[in-house]
Every structure is written in C-alpha cells, then in structure tokens.
Subunit: 455 residues, 2 copies
Amino acid sequence: MAKQKPRTLSGFMELLPAPQTQFERMAELLRRSYALYGFTPLDTPIIEASEVLLAKAGGETEKQIYRFSKGDSDLSLRFDLTVPLAKYVALHYADLSFPFRRFQIGKVYRGERAQRGRFREFYQADIDVIGDGKLDIVNEAEIPAIIYQTFTTLGLNRFQIRVNNRKILNGFYAMLGLSDRAGDVMRTVDKLPKIGAGKVRDMLTGEEIGLTGGQADEILKFISITGSNNDVLSALEEYKGRHELFDQGLDELNTVVKYLSAFGVPGEYFAVDLTIARGLDYYTGTVYETFMTSHPEIGSICSGGRYDNLSEYYTDKQLPGVGISIGLTRLFYVLEEQGCLNDDMITAPADVLVLPMTEDLSPAIALATQLRAAGIRTQLYTEQKKFKQKMSYADKLGVPYILLLGEDEITQGKASLKDMRSGEQELLDTGEIIDRVRLSLANSGAQRPIREKEE
Amino acid sequence: MAKQKPRTLSGFMELLPAPQTQFERMAELLRRSYALYGFTPLDTPIIEASEVLLAKAGGETEKQIYRFSKGDSDLSLRFDLTVPLAKYVALHYADLSFPFRRFQIGKVYRGERAQRGRFREFYQADIDVIGDGKLDIVNEAEIPAIIYQTFTTLGLNRFQIRVNNRKILNGFYAMLGLSDRAGDVMRTVDKLPKIGAGKVRDMLTGEEIGLTGGQADEILKFISITGSNNDVLSALEEYKGRHELFDQGLDELNTVVKYLSAFGVPGEYFAVDLTIARGLDYYTGTVYETFMTSHPEIGSICSGGRYDNLSEYYTDKQLPGVGISIGLTRLFYVLEEQGCLNDDMITAPADVLVLPMTEDLSPAIALATQLRAAGIRTQLYTEQKKFKQKMSYADKLGVPYILLLGEDEITQGKASLKDMRSGEQELLDTGEIIDRVRLSLANSGAQRPIREKEE
C-alpha cells in the first residue's frame, strides 16, 4: 500500500510527551491561579459565524483569519478569546451575574506568515471581569496581584508588571490641545529608545505632525518621568488640576498603587511606566504589560487593560471590563528556547512502573490496583522483553520508581521498590510502598514547570 | 451603531457558567483517572493537511468533514482523535517509548445534520496503548478497569461494560465457511432484538445471503449464548479445537475475565456479550461497549477495542493497540437531559465572597490575600450596591460563604463568616475562618458531577 507521509502543518505546535506534560502543568497552574481569584471557567466554540466574529474586525485580522464555507454557512475560526467573550456576554446577558469573572484557556487561529516562534494555532489564557454599566476601580487594582500570583506559581521570579493609565495619557495630550494628534504623537514617542530624544523632537515638530517646540518639549519632559513609583506619582501630581480626565486617571493609578501591598504584590515586581500605552481605541483606563527582566527582548508576556465597552458591536448595554491575556504557546516556546523549562520536573506518565516476574499476573495486577486506589499513578509493564529492555523503558520514561514482583516477594507479601534516581532498592510491604512513594511525590509536588537559569 | 445579533452556531455547545463548571469537573476527573493508569497527556492540532487526515477516510466521513483552503493549503479539521494519533505515532516514532500510552481530551468536528443532541463540535476523551510490533493481552484486560474507575469517579454507578472478542466472531464464521459473508450475516443478526429469530433465519437463508438452514441454525444458537460470564465462557468451550482464530480469541477472553477482580472490577459491572461486534475492519481482538443500565436507550457511552495496525496509512511499522473513547459532549448533554447532573455540586467561581463595609479597602483586600494564600478561592465584591443586591449576587453565584468586614470587625481583628446554606453567621479570626472553610470544602470535595436519580 502506498503510504502518506505523516507531517504536522508548519506553525502548529505538536509536542513530544515530556514537554507536553510541562505545558499541561503550566495550563493547570494557570487554571488554579485564576480560580483562586474567583474566575469561572468558560469554553466557547472555535468556529463562529463570520458575520458575528468579524462584526468589528478589519485590516490585519481579516487577512489572517481562517474563513470558509460549509453548506450555506460562512464560518470563521476565532482569532482571539475576546470577541467570543463579547458575543457570549451579549447573548447570555440575562443569565449572567455581574461583575462576571471568567477565565478561558483555548486555542485561537491566525494565518500569519510562518516563521520561527510564530504560531498559526496557539493557546491564549485570558481572564476578564465584566461589569454591568459600571465596574469598580478595585478590579483594576487586583490585576497585578493575579499576574504576580500566576507567574510565581509557574516558577518565574524575574519579571516586572508595568502599569499606566490611558486617562493620564489622554488627559495629558488634551491639556496640550493635542487630542486629535495623540495617536501620531504616541507612535513617534514609541521610537524614543531607538532613535533618541533629538530625532523624536524633530519628527514631532516636523511638517507631518506639526507641533510647536514648546509642545514637543512638554511631551519629552512628560515621557521622561521615571524612577520609583512614588517618584513618578509625585511628578504627575504637578500636572493636576489642568484636565479632569488626567486627574481621574491619576486618582485611579494612585488607587492601584495604594492597594498593591494589601494584594500581596512585592514592590519590586511592579512599576508605574508612562511609556506603556497599548492599542489606541480599545483601552480606556489602567493598562498592563509584563516583562521578563532577564529577557526583555521577548516583549510583554502578559498584557491587557481596562476597556469601557466590551460588546458594543452586539448590544446597546454598556459593559465595561478589565482583562489580561497570556499567549501561552508563544510563552512556552520562548521559555524552552531560553532553557527556562525545569528539566528536573517529573514528566513520566507514571510514578511507579510495576514489573511482574511471574507467569500469573494476578498479584502484580492486584498490587497495581492498590497503588492506584491510593492515588499513585501506576503503570503495569507486561510485555515479553528482556529485563534490560524493561529497565531501559523505565529510564526513558523517567519514572521515579519501579516495583519488582517475583515469587519470593509474593511469598513474603512484599515487593521490591527501586528508586530510579538513587538506585536504592528495598523489600517493602504494600503500605510501606504507598507511604514511601507518597512522601517522595509530596516532596516533588512543589515542582514548577519554569526554572530560570542562574545569572 | 448598527448591532450584529449575537448568536452561537447550531450544533455547537456553549454552556452557562454553572453547567460549564460541571463539564470542566468531568474533564478534570477523566484526566485524573487516565493518569492513574500511566497515560501521558497529548495535544495535537485541530487543523491538519487534508491529504494526511483523509489518507484513509471516505464515504460518510468525507462528506461531514470541515475542509477548506488557506493560501495554497488544503486543510481539514480533525473528525476524531484516532487519525491524528496514527499520524503522531508514525511521525514521532523514533522519539517515543513503546508501549506508548496516551490520553487526549479534545474537540473534533463533524458537519452532521443539525438535530437535538447531535453536535458538530464535540469533545472526545480517548485513551490508547500502542505497541511496537506486539502488544500484550494484559493491556486489553486492563481496559475494563479503566472504564470502571472512570465512571465511578464521575459518580455513575449503574452501568455495565460489555465485552466480546472479534477473533471469536471471525473464528466462528470461519468454522462455518462464512468468512466472506460475515459482514452481511452480522448486520442481519444485529436486527434480532427488533424482528425476532424467525425473520432473521428467513433473511439468512434468503437469496441475498444464501445460507443453508443448518448454518442459520448454528448462528442463531451461537448468538443466543447468554448468561453469566462463566455460562458464556463454558458454552464457548464447546466450539474449541475447530478453528485456531476462535481458540485464540477464547484464550484472550478468558484472560480478560480472569484478571477482572485483580483489576478491581466488581463482577456486576462486566458482561461477556457475543452480540458486541463494532466496526468490521478496524478491530481485531477484544471489543468494548458500556451502557447505562438505567438508560440503555442512550447506547454505548464508552466504546473501543483492540486493533492491529494503527498507522498503516503512514508507515510500514506494525503498530497494534487498544483504545477506548468517550463522547464527552454528547454524554454531558444526555446526563443533563436525564437529570443526572449533581445539582448540589458547588459551581460557584469562589468559595468565599468578601464584602467590605469600609471605605478603605486595605483590610478586606489583605484578608482576601490571606485566604487565597491558604488555597481558598476568594472573590472581592467592591461594587457600590445596596447590601440586598450584594446578597442577591452571592445567592445567584451559589457561593458557600460570605465574609463581612466592617469597622467593628476590623477593630477586633476578626470578620463575620456567613454560611450561605445554613444562614449561620459567626465572628471569627482569620485562622478560624480558614479552618472552617477548608473543613467544609474538604467535606464537599468528594462531590461527583453525576448523580443518578433514585429508581
């Protein structure tokens, strides 16, 4: 028979068992982290009607989308988890309680140009809090705590959450009478690290944008406000009283910073950063980006912010919210590339591999059944192979323990437990085996999927 | 702005938060169950190249498939998890250790005619054990244990695993010299419960199939072998020695039955059933179906069997295996229809809802942070609403506890914990609150998502 060459599409991540287990562990820790903060899990279809999914989209999104017909239906694969959430909340509005807090970890699809580290199918891990009409600022203050909790749970320690408030930016540009040109100005100011203050000033005062020298200087002064959170907040106080939106944004930012320590976020993990702007139209309040301090070149690994109108394309209801998103597939890829996955993590499918040495397998099976009843992941290995091959199988899987059961052991009501890491082997009864394995697993239970290299 | 009517495609399950939480709990318990038996989690792309995915398929599958072009690529959405597994094992053969035991819970797509209880996007939950060249029969004997463990963990108690062996069927038809007509015969025999033995005999001896009266009688006698497992196995002994394949199948069936109790499967959950055949070409050994004894009309809720050649369309390597599949979305739908979901299960996104009664929220936030550090799912409610509205929110979510924190409580270093089920309210310090909530959650921790109605 002619064979079809097996292959996986480029841009689609397909992992071997060990890294897949690390990925699953990351997803599980994200679920647990989010659940601690009172978010409910949600799952929406991957396929939606194109007219629903593309109610807002245009430009890049439209080009990248997987869109096709089936029968009479014009269908599309979701390209993020936000639009399906906007649809969900509008559709099920009457059945939901607000604030509605949901997390969703799911695959999304973008037909981007295939290149290293770019994925066409990838997981996003999103949380959002949606209010009905209003949403208290404390929800925005809580987000850094969730980011901090989530990444430390994964094992990441060297990261910083950078926060700004869009009202401060928009208010500041309004003070200068530049509301209509704020977009151009921000895009230019973004080039500061690359081209320097002089060239930015030239561009700002150039024909295209056309600011006065005074305006350009004001902007460069504002954007150079850095230092500790208190330094930045004090410097911002000096702009107070000149524009209502600015004042409101500063109040909000002060509230976010005020509650940081009550939320358990150590100061060094957090920085007010006036250069964080994020998309122009969508976000309206606090905005967040998160950087690995050892790998800033990776860019933000968790971003989001406050928005005023989640479902405006589906309903007249005002549904403000705040949310963040982690691009889990890309994060995993980057961590692996940087050698930041914990290679000591147990990724074996079983804690104990039982190797029966007798023809009648009943005692070995009964032992495996007891271990499983005690919550120990147990695999029976019954293939007819040489002992050496069986040990090599155990080695390759990385199982922490093997259990040998021959006539002698059965007669004594015991089995030989071999610790594959230490090489030690002991004859133990079932209760002792269970205690020993449980204790060892409890000790390794705190294993984090991420382990940063020493600097 | 003109609004787009929000809608979800027909045939796509989209659940509200409470049932979604029950669904997630089912999926989590499946993952845990499978992991206990040494299966590793796998995740493969939802989109594959059409030529890869359709290497084997034809007929119904081809019609139902979601197939489309993107750029130059001919793409399809997976319609099961078996074909992607066959591709995965062939593609990554050199990197895998055999037997390779994997589970996968994922969405698959079939564009079936939309009707109640039929889904176009649905979850399958599969396990498979793949051997390299050979695979020991004990793997087939272990499957009923996994099915038993899985469903009892979910909370289902009234079900039966029915098992047969394709070698027994094929061997029996070979004895009668009917190997070439076995398919027609089996399809006719399947009608027995509906049309009765007389009509089946007429059809078997009719022009189309053309058996002799003797052959038809032999078949009717064989198929009417029922009773306890021992009854059936004894009756089958009488056919022994007439065909090698039959004898081998009977040996295998005896092995499966022999190890049942060592595997911890109570006898009443298991039945040898000679009418279980499953697809004609794919399965070659033990086959399984699982029925809810109170709802046999639902059909099998977990099926599978032994096959000889998983990846024959991709590789010359002989890769035999055994696997089972649960149609999770359909199972969930059916359980909900039958009122078999446990409506006492806590589906609230939080265990504790903190209601601060002071302007400065720091003490309430700090308390929530302590609860979260203790592993308690905690939501802060800080919206400016009347007390009654806050209580109604707590009620609707179904949170088990609320925590009231006013000036008095703060002064005393305590908070008022209200048990929403009993209505009792007590002033407690943080340690007491944590102990109380943990104890209550531990007691409800054994909650199963399925609860069958009393008969």
